[in-house]
Symmetry: C3
Subunit: 150 residues, 3 copies
């Protein structure tokens, strides 16, 4: 390999490592959301973290508001006997501004009603800006779009 190729390979190795960490982050974060652990889920965002879901005109901002939204959504599903599973895949990462990390992914939301079969409910894309605080990744900004509303 040329020196340039070596440099590329090293840069690739770093970004692959970041990607692995982001994937692990998503597995934990989505499990918290789907299990109704709203406060723990909100703590995976920065204190002032924002989440722009496709269903709202304005982003939700800050851990308290994020937790409140997750709690209400989970309670509404539980009242119907429904479980939602957020399934993140096709994760690509790249360096962002100010040392942040940008992750783009596809997200399936699978809905399951107790006693009935599962259903592919939504197909979305997700763009997250991650920052690292005390060694841990946190979401500073999340934007989700629905493919059926493109």
């Amino acid at each position: 390999m040329t020196t340039l190729a070596n440099a590329n390979a090293n840069a690739n190795a770093t970004v692959d490592r970041d990607r692995a960490e982001v994937e692990h982050f998503y597995a934990r974060q989505m499990t918290l959301l789907d299990s109704g652990e709203a406060d723990a889920w909100a703590a995976t965002f920065t204190e002032d973290g924002s989440f722009a879901p496709p269903s709202l005109p304005e982003p939700v901002r800050g851990r308290a508001a994020l937790a409140e939204g997750a709690r209400k959504a989970f309670a509404a599903l539980a009242a119907e006997g429904d479980t939602h599973r957020h399934w993140v895949g096709m994760v690509a990462v790249r360096p962002g501004e100010d040392g942040s990390l940008v992750a783009e992914s596809y997200v399936q939301v699978v809905a399951v009603r107790a006693g009935a079969g599962p259903r592919l409910h939504l197909m979305c894309t997700c763009t997250d800006v991650f920052v690292r605080q005390e060694g841990e990744l946190l979401v500073r900004e999340r934007v989700v779009t629905r493919d059926d509303r493109r």
Copy 2:
């Protein structure tokens, strides 16, 4: 970073490496299952490995019984012209007791009938306890739950 954060980052790197190995394990293991390679699939469990599927009152225990179950299930599907694809995602790992590794994941089972379209058949969660023997990960205990029977 503080020293504590460095220690966290190192621990994270180890667990991310374990997670990568577990993901690779699942890709191979599920392909064996879906291809009807029942003995090779059973060999991905420990000799006394157990598998508690949602459809049975008691766990299946030991490679011979595991292989027999997989063989029967595959034959029943083949007789109908069906293929099942086990798709594992959202994998999170953590250290277990006695040096084991615990992996929690979501699992989609997609069913495809020859000549017809695919269908999301089941949405499950899977908890595996892995041990390492001669450098290779093996499942010592697997518990699977169906979201529609929660």
Copy 3:
């Protein structure tokens, strides 16, 4: 661990690293395809790269033909208001001939019509032969099979 087990573990670490890189490759490659960036998508194959899709009697060969095919497919979907999402999972890699890398995976194709819900359109398997050029992975040969036509 025995020396043999150590050697296995090192070989496993290498292959897990390759697998991580392949996964990242797929995330970027499929996003290009699904976004209609046909030329950039074709550039992820070698100059003479081939793609044998389930819908054609002969493989498509070479970047120009690959780009043309992707462009037409995207335009046909867009004319109907449809988005396709190619979702690769269960990726297993192994060394191939001549220093190549072989990756086998499952692929879901999710179709979304504007204003309607998503639909699991196709369940496929994909076998790719990768080569490395100037440090970057490129697909030299891709074979895709549909589970409903097995």
